[in-house]
Symmetry: C2
Subunit: 477 residues, 2 copies
C-alpha cells in the first residue's frame, strides 16, 4: 500500500540482496525507514547506534549532495533523486512522471541512446530507476574506479535529454505492457489502486503512480519534455553516493560533472490539494477470477513523518510494529494463533511521504472464514488497542528491535543511500534521518496510545476485500 514504486524495467530489476526490498513486496509493501532494513536483521540489540559520518553539501547550481561512507567494499552506490513524482503530475496526465523515468534512457546529444546502459553493463555494474508519488530516482552500482564515468553520464541526462517520436512511441508500449503485467494482471495491485483512490478524496496520492491506463495511452513526447524541463534541474535533485569514498573526493567529482549542469528552472513549492476532514468509513470489494486466497487490506489516513506533530510519526511506527510486525504482533497472535481465523495477518506504517500517508492492517482468512468475520476480529484487535493501549514492555521490545534494525541496516550500502534519498525528497533532512534512532528511543507507551486513539479511526479508513469471482466483461462510460 505505502509508497508505490514503479520500476523501469522488469527484465532488468536488480537481483542483488541489497536491492531485493525494492521489488519484493510490490505493490502492497513499502519503503519505510524500518521496513527497508527488516529483512536482513536479527538481534535484541540495545547498543547505541554509531552514527556514520555523512557528508552533506550543496553545489552552487542547487544540487544537494549526500555522501554515505561505507569502507567495506570497493563498490559504489550512485543515486540521483528528483523531487518530483506522480503526485506532482497535472490531473489527467497520470503516469507522466513514470513515463519520463523510462524516457531518461533515450539518450542525449552527447551520449546517444544505449551508451549509458552499455557502459554500466560493460564495467559489470547494475542500474535501474524508480518512480514513486514523491520522487523519481536513478541508480547504479559499480566499482569505485568507474564512479566518475557514471557521474558524467548521469549529470549529462539531467538536462540534456533528447526525445524523438521514434524513441518515445515504442517506450509508451513498454510502459503500457508494464501496467498490464504489474497491475492489470495482478489482483492485489488492482485492489491497492482502488483502496488508494477511495482513501484520498482530494489528494493526488489517490492516483496510481503508474497512471490510469486510459491516461497513459495518451501521453506523448511534448508532455514528457515539458514535464522534464519543469522538474529536471539540479536545484530539484539530490545526489547520494554511498561507498568507499571521501566527501572531499565526491565534492571535487560532483563539481567537475554535476557542477557544470545549469539550473534550468525555478522550482515552486510542492503544494498539493490536501484532504478534507475524513468523516465516512469506506469499503471496496474487488472480485477477480485469479484470486486464490481472499484477503482484507485496510488503510487509515494518518500523518507522515513530514506532516506529523513531534513524536506522532514515531508513535505510529511503534504502534504498527506492535500491531502488525511478525508472528508476535497482536494481529498475528490474535487472528492466526489464538482464534485460528487467519492464515496471515499484519500491519505497516508508511511514514516517508511529503503529505498525509497510510497506516495499514491486513489479513487472509482460513478457508471457511468470511472476510466479514475476519474484519470483525481485526476491529476487535484495533478497538482493544485504542481502548486499553499498549504495555510498556511491548513498546520496549518494539523500540529495541527497530533501533537494532536501523543499526544493522547500515550494513547495506544501498539501503542507507535510499534512506537519505527518500528522506531528502519528502521534506526531511539528513539530521532527521540521523536522529531517527533517538526519536524512536524517546517513544513511551503514552505516545503510542495517543497515536492509536487519534488515528485508528475507522472514519478515516478504507477496507478492501479481495475475493475470488467469476470474471465479467468490463465497461466504460
Amino acid at each position: 500500500m505505502p509508497i508505490n514504486l514503479t520500476f523501469r524495467r522488469n527484465a532488468q530489476a536488480p537481483t542483488g540482496v541489497a536491492l531485493a526490498s525494492f521489488v519484493a513486496g510490490l505493490p502492497l509493501a513499502g519503503l519505510t525507514l524500518a521496513g527497508l532494513a527488516i529483512a536482513s536483521v536479527f538481534g535484541t540489540a540495545t547498543m547505541a547506534a554509531p552514527k556514520p559520518e555523512i557528508g552533506h553539501f550543496t553545489l552552487t547550481n542547487g544540487l544537494e549532495v549526500v555522501v554515505v561512507p561505507d569502507r567495506r567494499a570497493p563498490v559504489i552506490t550512485h543515486m540521483v533523486w528528483y523531487k518530483v513524482g506522480a503526485a506532482d503530475e497535472t490531473p489527467g496526465k497520470s503516469g507522466l512522471a513514470h513515463f519520463l523515468e523510462h524516457l531518461l534512457f533515450k539518450g542525449t546529444a552527447k551520449n546517444p541512446i544505449g551508451k549509458f546502459s552499455q557502459t554500466v553493463a560493460f564495467v559489470g555494474g547494475q542500474e535501474n530507476a524508480f518512480t514513486a508519488q514523491d520522487y523519481t530516482g536513478y541508480f547504479q552500482r559499480v566499482s569505485r574506479d568507474h564512479l566518475k564515468t557514471l557521474m558524467e553520464f548521469e549529470s549529462d541526462r539531467m538536462t540534456g535529454l533528447v526525445l524523438t517520436d521514434e524513441t518515445v512511441g515504442p517506450e509508451l508500449k513498454v510502459v503500457l505492457e508494464e501496467q498490464n503485467q504489474r497491475v492489470a494482471n495482478n489482483p492485489r495491485a488492482r485492489l491497492s489502486e482502488q483502496i488508494d483512490a477511495a482513501l484520498y478524496l482530494n489528494h493526488p496520492y489517490g492516483r496510481p503512480v503508474i497512471g490510469w491506463r486510459h491516461e497513459i495511452e495518451k501521453l506523448n513526447r511534448e508532455e514528457a519534455l515539458a514535464f522534464y524541463k519543469r522538474f529536471y534541474t539540479p536545484n530539484n535533485a539530490v545526489l547520494v553516493v554511498a561507498g568507499d569514498v571521501k566527501t572531499d573526493e565526491i565534492k571535487a567529482l560532483a563539481q567537475e560533472t554535476y557542477g557544470k549542469v545549469p539550473k534550468v528552472a525555478e522550482i515552486a513549492p510542492r503544494v498539493r490539494p490536501q484532504e478534507p476532514v475524513q468523516i465516512a468509513a469506506r469499503h471496496v470489494t474487488l472480485a477477480d477470477a485469479r484470486v486464490q486466497q481472499p484477503s482484507l487490506h485496510r488503510a487509515y489516513l494518518v500523518p507522515s513523518s513530514t506532516t506529523a506533530k513531534p513524536g506522532e510519526a514515531e508513535g505510529l511506527e511503534i504502534l504498527s510494529f506492535i500491531l502488525g510486525h511478525g508472528t508476535t504482533s497482536r494481529l498475528y497472535r490474535t487472528l492466526v494463533v489464538e482464534r485460528e481465523l487467519a492464515v496471515g495477518a499484519g500491519g505497516f506504517y508508511n511514514g516517508t511521504a511529503l503529505d498525509a500517508t497510510q497506516f495499514g492492517v491486513y489479513g487472509s482468512p482460513k478457508p471457511g472464514v468470511t472476510l466479514n468475520k475476519l474484519e470483525d476480529a481485526i476491529d476487535g484487535v484495533i478497538d482493544d488497542v485504542v481502548a486499553k493501549g499498549v504495555t510498556p514492555e511491548e513498546v520496549e521490545r518494539a523500540k529495541n528491535r527497530l533501533i537494532a534494525d536501523a543499526v544493522y541496516a547500515q550494513d547495506s550500502q544501498a539501503t542507507m543511500a535510499r534512506w537519505y534519498g527518500a528522506a531528502l525528497t519528502t521534506g526531511s533532512t539528513v539530521e532527521d534521518v540521523q536522529a531517527w534512532p533517538d526519536r524512536i528511543r524517546a517513544v513511551t507507551a503514552d505516545t503510542v496510545n495517543a497515536a492509536a486513539k487519534a488515528w485508528l479511526d475507522k472514519r478515516r479508513s478504507v477496507t478492501g476485500y479481495l475475493v475470488k469471482d467469476s470474471q465479467q466483461e468490463e465497461k466504460r462510460t
Copy 2:
C-alpha cells in the same frame, strides 16, 4: 446526488412554484430534463408535443442566445449561463466557481455594489444565481418592460466586475456559512459529498460544488478574478430569454446590450480527467448524531446524454422511471408495498452532464430493518431487472408519462429556460432538447434492457449508508 447546485443566497431563494425544483431536493435530487417537469404534471398524454418556436442565434462576440416564446403572461425569465462550473476549477481551489458566483454581485465600475439587485427588487422582480459542476447561471424574473434594464446590468457584469478586498473578504464568510448550513449541518448532504468522492476515482465531479471547506477558506480575490477573466466572456456564455417576446426583438436588445461586451478570452475545450474502467464496488458509511431516519443511497457511474451512445441515455431515463419513479415503481412496490421493508424508495437518472454521470437508487428502512437487509432487497430488484428485463407495458407507461411531463413542462417558463440553458452548457444543442420527446418515443424494451445490463453493474457503484450515531470529534492529518 445528480448535479449539485449550490445557491447564492439561502435567504433569497425563489419561492415561486416554477422554481421550486431548484431548491427542493438538494442535494440528493437533480436537474434532469424529466425531473424538472415532474412536480407540476399529471396526465396520461399520448398527444404529440407541439414544438415551441425557439429563437436561436449567436452574436458576433460569440454569445449564444436562445429565445423561448411564452405568450401567456407579461413576465420574462432572463438567464445568463456560463460554460464553467466546479468541475473546471484547478485542483486545490475547490469552491472557486461558486465563490465567484457570489462575487458577481459586488458591482462594476458602472454599477456599484447593490444597484443591480436594488433595481430588480424595485421593479418587483426576483433574482438569483446558481453554480453546478458544468455551469454557473444568473437569472431574473421581471415584467417585460424592464427586460432591457436587466440586459444592461447583466451584460455589464459579464466582463466589468470590480473586486476589492473589502467586498471579497466578507463574502468568503458568507460562503463558509453557506457551506456550514447546506453541508456541514446536513447529514444527507455530507453523505452525498462522500458518495461523489468515492464514485469518481479521477474525474473532478468527485469534488463538491461548494468546495471542500479547507480549500474554500483559502480562496481569495486574486484567484477569483483570474478565474473570472479566464471564463467570463461572451463566447463562453448562453443567454436564455423566455416570455412574451419575439426573437427579432431580443436580437435587437441583445445586440444593443450584450453585443457591446468584448470577447476577453479564448476558451479551451473542456477536457477533464476521465474515469478509469471501474472495477470495484464501494461502500461508504456516514454516522451522524443528527440522523433521524437511516437511509441507503446508491450511485452508479453511467453515461450522460452527452457521452452516451445513441439511445442509451433515453434507455437509462426510462429505466430510472420504471425502477424508481413514484409509488408504482418497482423499487417502491417491492420494498414499501409488498415486502414492507422500507418507508420510502426510488431512483433517478441525471442525464444532463458534460461527462459520465450518476444513476441513483435509494431507500429508507422501516424501524427494525437493517440497511444490509434493505440493500439485499434493492439488489434483488436490480438483479431481477438486469436478468429478466422490463415489460413493453412498463416502457409504454413510462414513455407516455415522460412525454406528457415534457409537454406540460412547457407551461413553466422558467423550466423551459432551464432546459435550454443546462443543455447548451453541457454539450447538447437546441435540437437535442427539441428532439427529446421523439427520442423517448423511440425507446423500446430492448433499449431499456440493454441499458440495465450494461450499466447496473455494482462494480461501477457506491452504496452509501446514512446511520445515526453518537458524535465523535473529527481529526485532521
